[in-house]
Symmetry: C2
Subunit: 402 residues, 2 copies
């Protein structure tokens, strides 16, 4: 008998204990997520739907979808990947063409790599995700940064893009790419991407919108906005198991971004043939109807976020960034909570521990004065619990020092 | 109440039918894998372990591991990613340093991008996976191909690498990178990588071994072999949900491949900060003890493959590639099966349909004269069923034409 001999034997062998339990199989590494209130901006938009979980079980094995492939992953008809990539997603975000990627950052690098040359100059907003700067370094680009307005709103002034383009023109430098983050993942600010699209068009410079925190949460139509490229993240905002994302683009970029291998007529060079070739794609597909539906309720999300921001303000925990706020990702400042940390036995980690007691997660351990959170997944009821927890911390401090 | 409001509500909403069932939720798209005999070379090494399936359920949500991160994914201690990436994997493949990637092809592109410049010349074996050529095109490299020996063995002559290096030297062209596929995914041939490592060292040219079909199936020690780089695939050979893989390298390449962002001191540029940041990593970790154990039984796999090859030979289905064969991936030729297809009502697809009846999967639909398969997962008992099916097809043909 050969070994291993398939699935059943693997189960038996593992259960019989003849192979030591894998390191991450011990109970301490199992993730407990039931009944938790999750405020982690990285996670609230990526929680799987029931349908996606089912897909994970069905399609979890390695290259599970590739036996349906005739050479191009996005042309597989059953499961309906073709329909999803060439019909559903373009319609959903109003793009001419969509291609899957291993995530938003990979999408941004792919576009940079396809439309620029090493040494080119690009313009990026200061609020961009760190990986946008790292992707530019990988593509060997010179970065001109658009500073935000600083405390307390951290707003990106879109006109500054035009000033930088003009200033560089005077130095005989042609800007080759513009990037804007919509919204950023710290303050949840939503810059004026329509205006930037007009500027980009006027100067004939391609524009990427990083919509990792937008697509799948709020309505976005890239052709309405007018941008050349947009990138999305499945694991950040489309209820998908990562890593997965996609690029939406105007048809005019097809030949540049989707150029074909000289050796293999159905393989796109920038995609290395194919990208998200695993169960991540099936989860994004399985969650899609839910995601498409939830963006229609974005107004409720905004109302919830604004209500939360107001309630926090009442206990002197101040929301920074744009106000009234238009996104579930928010940044807060609290002098009071910071003061408590100076005297608390758990120091700067007391906030994390107090929240943990109430099964509230997602505020980074060690933060008290400035922290971010997302109200996307939590109900108003759950958010009331969060506010009450903050209240009790603040009032205990009042007792302490009152 | 905000909408959506968490996991429970999503389940209720989906089950209540107020959102239409996602396209891939209909039963026809559910994958039935129970009791099937899987011979698909892309899949046999990627079938998940029970532990990995459990991890998929626990860690399936989007960025589920990132709340444990202090800025560098591979330094997360709980779950023990640090131990896995910096201790277990390097020890497993005998490499100085390991870094995660989104797959073997992404690993190859990353190395190409880090160690070469556009216009550089590299040498690649003809048996390489298509994505190696596409990655070279993406990195804008000139490719010198080492032809295989052709029918029937398709062997890569390692000495030919040296001839090409010397011939190019005479034209004042310095080869910048060598790549060899070990084994290739068509014939399952295992070229002499030790000899190639010596040639690479003599000419001071870095060497990449693409071990997507080796690491996780058979013992591999890259420092023993002497190569600079090796790439592995989790979804192809390490019982992992894709996409995931890793690079093993010599310490001397650390500064080139893992150079750090000038803006973020814990972000590696070529990795865009981090790569396999999802449940794929947890599945690779969960399967690791099993995978480490199974490579110790590689001799049984070779014996099983050679037995299968002999049995197929007895019914005139001839194994091409190296013989005696040293890998579970094999390429077969059958004039008889091809002759049948000419007269069969299902034409070239009859083989696929006949196998489907017996729940045998993995031979590409439409192939009869030449096809590949893998004996890795099937037991001898199951393979006997496969051989019997071939036998009955061949004998029915004898009746037809006898």
């Amino acid at each position: 008998m050969g070994w291993p001999s398939g699935w059943a034997e693997v189960c038996r062998t593992l259960h019989a204990g003849s192979i030591p339990a894998p390191i991450s199989m011990t109970s301490e590494y199992l993730r407990k997520t039931k009944h938790m209130i999750n405020l982690n901006p990285l996670q609230t938009g990526g929680l799987l739907t029931a349908a996606a979980r089912r897909m994970l079980m069905e399609w979890g094995d390695g290259y599970s979808i590739c036996d349906f492939c005739r050479g191009k992953l996005d042309e597989i008809r059953n499961p309906p990947i073709y329909e999803f990539v060439h019909h559903d997603l373009p319609e959903f975000i109003g793009a001419d063409i969509v291609r899957l990627t291993n995530g938003a950052r990979e999408g941004i690098f792919t576009i940079m790599h396809a439309v620029t040359k090493p040494g080119d100059t690009i313009v990026v907003d200061e609020n961009a995700h760190y990986s946008t700067f790292v992707a530019a370094e990988r593509a060997k680009l010179k970065i001109q940064k658009i500073a935000n307005s600083g405390y307390p709103k951290y707003i990106i002034d879109i006109q500054a893009y035009e000033h930088v383009i003009k200033a560089l023109e005077k130095q005989k430098i042609k800007v080759k790419l513009l990037i804007i983050t919509y919204p950023d993942g710290n303050y949840g600010n939503l810059p004026d991407v329509r205006l930037l699209s007009k500027i980009a068009a006027n100067y004939d410079i391609p524009l990427i919108i990083n919509a990792a925190y937008a697509i799948g949460r709020m309505p976005v139509n890239v052709n309405d906005i007018g941008a050349d490229f947009i990138v999305a993240s499945g694991h950040k905002s489309m209820a998908s198991a990562g890593p997965i994302g996609f690029i939406g683009m105007k048809k005019k970029w097809e030949k540049t971004l989707l150029r074909i291998s000289q050796f293999f007529k159905n393989k796109e060079i920038e995609m290395l043939g194919c990208t998200a070739r695993g169960p991540s794609l099936l989860t994004m597909m399985a969650s899609f109807r839910h995601v498409r539906e939830r963006v229609k309720h974005w107004n409720n999300q905004i109302e919830k976020a604004q209500w939360f921001s107001r309630e926090m303000g009442k206990i002197e925990i101040r929301q920074l960034g744009e106000k009234p706020h238009m996104h579930d990702v928010m940044f807060f400042e609290s002098e009071k909570l910071y003061e408590i940390s100076k005297h608390h036995k758990n120091g700067a980690f007391y906030l994390y521990h107090e929240f943990k007691k109430n099964n509230i997660w997602g505020i980074k351990p060690g933060l008290t004065k400035y922290f971010k959170l997302s109200t996307f997944t939590a109900t108003r009821e759950e958010l009331a619990t969060v506010i009450d927890t903050f209240k009790s911390l603040v009032s205990s401090r009042s007792r302490l020092t009152g």
